[in-house]
């Protein structure tokens, strides 16, 4: 649908007549996940912030500035271009929510800065972000696809941003949290991480629907483009990661986190993961900071398996499941 056609006529949106019930499911999920940074007691991190070295503070501010840029791109360019490609009015409405939440995310980093940091240090970091070649490159690689004529590649770029490019940044607050530092900031970042998962899932789902309607040749072409873009972004992410994390000795573990998330980004698009498990073995303390139960052994199969419970079931009703 072109912009001209779209603007020539607007029909009132009827949420009781759905073409795709996934739209309502995701709308409900996003609206029930709504939050604002004011809800998180960031000032409780002031003491912790003051225990960081000047180098660690600079790294943290730079990482958050980089994340701010990505959220700004999603809010002002990414989500709006997807609106033009929407298959249903409800999908378009979901993108309005995504666009706004990305603004909330970008706003949140400034809340962290104003609570914890010196204004001059923050100004320095914003200047750094404008001049840093790898950060600017990631922005360019994505914006180029957003401005391309190919609606499928716009979705690919969006999913790679949501599900892959953020993670070189998300690593650091998870790292601090695993060392019992900046724990309230980490709580806020976890809210962002949760939102980005829904965004990547939903855009990926819409991508798969659109791709399924293409010819096998075109499908293969898009798939090739997608892997090509991922590798291009990956090479740049590795350089970005090294430029930030080498000095604190974390680059190698951050790269594992990149591999792990690149695989999930591909899966959101319906494509097979690229990186083998030998390079996705992120430090378990980082995984535990991300998902507190992730390090628990829920792999019953590799356990001894001798003590499992055989179903002693109790009566259940819908209400019991708080459904």
């Amino acid at each position: 649908m072109t912009m001209m056609q779209r603007l020539s006529r607007v029909n009132a949106i009827n949420w009781n007549r759905l073409q795709d019930d996934k739209d309502l499911e995701v709308w409900n999920r996003l609206t029930s996940n709504f939050w604002l940074p004011e809800k998180v007691p960031l000032s409780n991190d002031i003491q912790s912030w003051n225990t960081l070295t000047q180098q660690e503070k600079q790294l943290t501010i730079r990482v958050f500035t980089g994340l701010t840029l990505l959220d700004t791109i999603q809010s002002s360019v990414g989500a709006p271009v997807l609106m033009d490609d929407a298959r249903t009015p409800h999908e378009e409405a979901v993108y309005t929510n995504i666009a706004f939440m990305e603004s909330v995310h970008a706003r949140s980093y400034s809340s962290i800065f104003s609570t914890l940091c010196a204004t001059r240090d923050v100004d320095d970091a914003f200047r750094w972000s404008e001049e840093n070649p790898t950060l600017q490159m990631k922005s360019e690689l994505i914006l180029k696809r957003y401005r391309s004529e190919d609606p499928l590649m716009r979705k690919v770029a969006s999913v790679f941003l949501e599900s892959f490019l953020f993670y070189s940044g998300f690593y650091l607050p998870m790292y601090w949290s695993s060392h019992a530092k900046l724990t309230n900031t980490a709580d806020l970042i976890r809210l962002i991480i949760r939102d980005e998962a829904v965004h990547g899932y939903y855009v990926g789902y819409k991508f798969q629907q659109a791709l399924a309607e293409e010819t096998p040749e075109r499908q293969q072409e898009v798939k090739d483009y997608a892997y090509e873009l991922l590798l291009e972004l990956y090479d740049n992410e590795v350089r970005y990661t090294e430029s930030l994390y080498d000095e604190v000795g974390l680059s190698e573990d951050v790269k594992k986190f990149l591999h792990y998330n690149a695989n999930k980004a591909l899966m959101n698009l319906g494509f097979e993961p690229l990186f083998p498990s030998s390079v996705t073995d992120v430090d378990p303390t980082i995984m535990a900071a991300l998902s507190p139960s992730a390090d628990e052994n829920h792999d019953f199969f590799s356990g001894s398996g001798s003590s499992y419970v055989i179903g002693k079931a109790v009566a259940t009703e819908d209400d019991d499941w708080s459904f």
Binding site: D20, D21, K22, E25, R29, S32, N33, R190, I193, R194, E196, A197, V198, Y201, Y205, Q208, N263, K264, M267, N268, P273, S277, M287, L290, S291, P292, S293, A294, H298, D299, F300, F301, S302, G305, Y308, V309, I310, G311, K312, A313, V314, A315, T316, E317, D318, D320, W321, S322, F323
Partner: protein
């Protein structure tokens, strides 16, 4: 337990739910094991199973326990007959949801007193598929043995 009525020669089956995004369905396809899909459409009657099974389900939501288990799965398990034949649960999810990763699996495991066997993300990696395939086969072997003794 109605163990005497269970044919010990029969390995159990898989029962799964998958939304339109089809991630869980794709995981089941990759497993290549016998499996029954619960209907997507809420209007359709919920099926009855006739042999022990492992349930594979995605997790809804992104945080709270409220609504984490898909309604179609609840409806299926509200049938006492179906619930008695449940032997274990495998949950799909996303670690981005933090505490709520694979929450539907934990809720069902607690509620029905069966083990949470495994969790995987999205449609699972090849490693997940290999682990679950092997794990499920051994699980049924052990179940059959424990019924014989």
């Amino acid at each position: 337990m109605q163990t005497a009525e269970v044919d010990t020669q029969l390995a159990g089956t898989l029962v799964y739910f998958s939304t339109k995004s089809g991630n869980t369905h794709r995981f089941i396809e990759k497993l290549g094991m016998r499996a029954q899909r619960l209907p997507l459409n809420r209007e359709e009657p919920t099926p009855r199973v006739e042999q022990p099974y492992i349930l594979v389900t995605p997790t809804y939501g992104g945080g709270s326990a409220h609504g984490a288990v898909p309604g179609q799965v609840i409806r299926f398990l509200n049938d006492t007959h179906n619930r008695h034949l449940l032997r274990g649960v495998i949950a799909a999810g996303n670690t981005n949801f933090g505490e709520a990763y694979g929450l539907a699996g934990r809720i069902i495991a607690q509620k029905c007193q069966v083990p949470l066997l495994y969790r995987f993300e999205l449609f699972g990696t090849d490693e997940d598929v290999a682990k679950v395939r092997k794990g499920v086969e051994e699980f049924w072997k052990r179940q059959t043995q424990s019924l014989k003794t």
